[in-house]
Symmetry: D2
Subunit: 262 residues, 4 copies
């Protein structure tokens, strides 16, 4: 389990969201409140968009709370769209390539959740990654594999690509007896649009909230302050779609498929 934050809005220093709030992501790294793991000390990462066509990444295996580089970078990096993530590993190694966010071309992805029997389902999930993207598989997490599977499932229509991939994963865990658990609370962006998913199979989904103003939107695993009324809870099996220049919409997952089936 992990904690993360995604921001899109006016260009700002990352510190205003990552290190400064009362219950900032850094505070959550040592004491999260709504996670099964209160300590998220198995590495962390930043991903951000700037003037370069591809996003920047800073990932480190040390806990976020003691990384002095992170404080300097959050103070000096300015971005209109960034991700930050603190990790509580669920079985895979503590390495930089296993830290979130993951980048592929213009796309950034980060995840909080797990695939129940990862060591048993891993080969099936990795097989969803197309050959041409397999060199981008530089780590060993379920999260990175799912991201690359989504990339290969037609990422230019992100919700459809996610639904297609989640449907495959759902089949995989339901094919076991009893059905493995699968939790997927994730953020995805191409540098303009921002998507955040809340989904689970055979289990309760991890929490997901957002707060929107005219200055932008911030989407989080748990609120950055104790003023909970500022935060909108995203329902299970829904996706937050925050397209560039539009207000965010919360859309049910698999809705169109259900419609199509009706």
């Amino acid at each position: 389990m992990c904690r993360w934050i995604a921001y899109r809005g006016e260009t700002t220093a990352l510190e205003h969201y990552v290190t400064e709030p009362a219950h900032s992501l850094i505070t959550q790294s040592i004491q999260a409140l709504e996670s099964t793991a209160s300590v998220n000390g198995d590495g962390f990462g930043l991903g951000w968009y700037g003037s370069h066509p591809e996003p920047g990444l800073y990932r480190e295996i040390r806990p976020a709370w003691s990384d002095e580089n992170l404080r300097y970078l959050c103070r000096h990096l300015h971005s209109h769209l960034f991700f930050a993530h603190v990790r509580a590993a669920t079985g895979t190694a503590i390495t930089r390539p296993n830290c979130h966010p993951f980048a592929c071309g213009r796309w950034l992805f980060m995840h909080n959740g797990f695939v129940g029997s990862w060591s048993r389902l891993r080969r099936k999930v990795e097989a969803l990654i197309p050959d041409e993207l397999y060199p981008a598989r530089v780590g060993t997490t379920d999260s990175e594999a799912i991201f690359l599977a989504m990339m290969g499932a037609g990422i230019e229509t992100p919700v459809a690509a996610a639904e297609k991939t989640l449907a495959r994963l759902t089949d995989f865990v339901n094919a076991t007896e009893p059905g493995d658990r699968f939790r997927f609370t994730a953020a995805l962006s191409n540098g303009r649009d921002l998507y955040a998913f809340r989904y689970a199979v055979n289990d309760k989904a991890n929490t997901l909230y957002y707060r929107e103003s005219e200055n932008g939107i911030v989407i989080v695993s748990e609120p950055l302050d104790s003023d909970h009324k500022n935060w909108v809870t995203v329902p299970e099996s829904h996706v937050v779609v925050a397209l560039a220049g539009e207000r965010a919409r919360v859309v049910p997952l698999f809705h169109r498929h259900q419609e199509a089936a009706e």
Copy 2:
């Protein structure tokens, strides 16, 4: 604040004390029960005596709970006298030289506590280190400085050296207004004899326990299991003296000085 364990007895694999117990030191690294810091994730260290005249050290800045090297070493290293420590930093950098234990010649030392205004008192404490030992000052912690001061105060009579050094520290913190706090719960060994101190000024001392059998003695910050009646609480201002071939004695600190004054 930190958590530690010291063992002397029959030669054994370190894992029986460091990684295997229900509330092992590794468990304490992510969830200590009797510490002001429940997370001790700012590095860790092992120190042990073997056939070489000087002790071995393994220190690392990652949290103990996720270090696969630590598990292998605790399984493979056998020793009759070893220290293990998980760190919760109190202001100094997360570096290997700032991780405990510290070694100097045949001596090993580790500490749980702090000097209240370290940045203000640091120069005074460092001035207690004799010139010939100053090259051994490879880190920046209060703990290492106190250890080297003790080394310079006549370490061959360890309790007297500790009392002499603690008296100086006590003077330092009492010279401030209001008096700075000082907590010192520490272990010291020459490879044969084992000493453990519990002391504080202007504050409550950190917890210290031990358990002794015919196979050996284990001294800890907090018990390794929930069976508290197995563990003897060391009173404040006392030192556990476990000389080679003798049963441990718990001796008041500054006792002889008080006697001399009577």
Copy 3:
């Protein structure tokens, strides 16, 4: 490319082979003489057998030359059979799981070489790993994949398992146009017997030497001293077989297959 050393013989401190010789492995980490990479600073590792049924591992991503833990461990660890390795990465990430040696059950393996177009051939090689061993695939190197493929090819007859795996790899690289290069200079052990392979396809094999006395055998990428007449050069396409209690034999690879074909 990398540098490594394997030892089997009288139980000894690792330091006599890893850190002390004039041209020790640590010296080779910063200035190798017979490698295309003179700097082998992309991590290192130790693997050793002791009283525990499974070997110990110490792997680290820092360069070997500056790791103080390594010096302590080489001084304090004693073993009758150990591996040490310094890494020069050829494309995969600098992580602990990508450092050599690799362990699986009682077996240890380390490697110096590469698979020419690893990103292109990776899926084929990973497919050689049986499902039950795939959870042991914790890194992303070609070396670990080949080791696990060998484990799955009947490791109880190690030379045959290696030949079977090398034949598959040879087919893979020869199926490309022009044929990819493949270099494989590796050590393998079960804690009793020691094997060292020197092989290449479409390229010159990396160097391999050994030195044997009544006290034991040491097999190396390049000699530990300048007295080259002490060292026997292993020919290409040969394997050093050092069975417990016997003198080492140098045996041609694929010999029996050739015999069978005659």
Copy 4:
């Protein structure tokens, strides 16, 4: 010994100077040409000025050549004045606080050189640091101590502060018999003005070059390309003074003192 680069000019991505040139600093980290240490793999650092009143820092103990974070940061960080440094340690620990550059308030400093008998002279040099700056002494290098001594010697007139500090150091090394060596090739900035010193006592000074155009000035340990005629060699005992809005001047050190003595 180390290698470094300092830039002041039009705001630019760091990559154009740190990672892209034919003989970039990253290339120098694994194969420097004009240094006694050809490998500078003992950590590295970036320091840069942006919109925040204090400079940013990114320091890491891994070699620069394999740090993927460094590549992302050099691509995404833009600055009008930045420092980059790769380290070859000369006796002090490989820790982040011992990596260059060092920051104190608005000032940045980095160094290539050493104090001959650092363990013997360390206390004398540390005594030059005023009490109020001693909390900024977070590492153990000679370089950081000299920087903080310069800060305390009146950093608002940087050349005079450097001369004052270098004079003290010169006295220290000349008081030993035979005189210890002291090499000091360093860069200093307040975010507007840039200074680079080349000095040595009882030894040859480390190399120092610069290249200036209308777009800015870059000062280096060794040229970034093989076109040496582009680069001006800074003579020993001189300082490059590049004030904001002016062309750089190369000024002899201790000149005014000599004048005053005439």
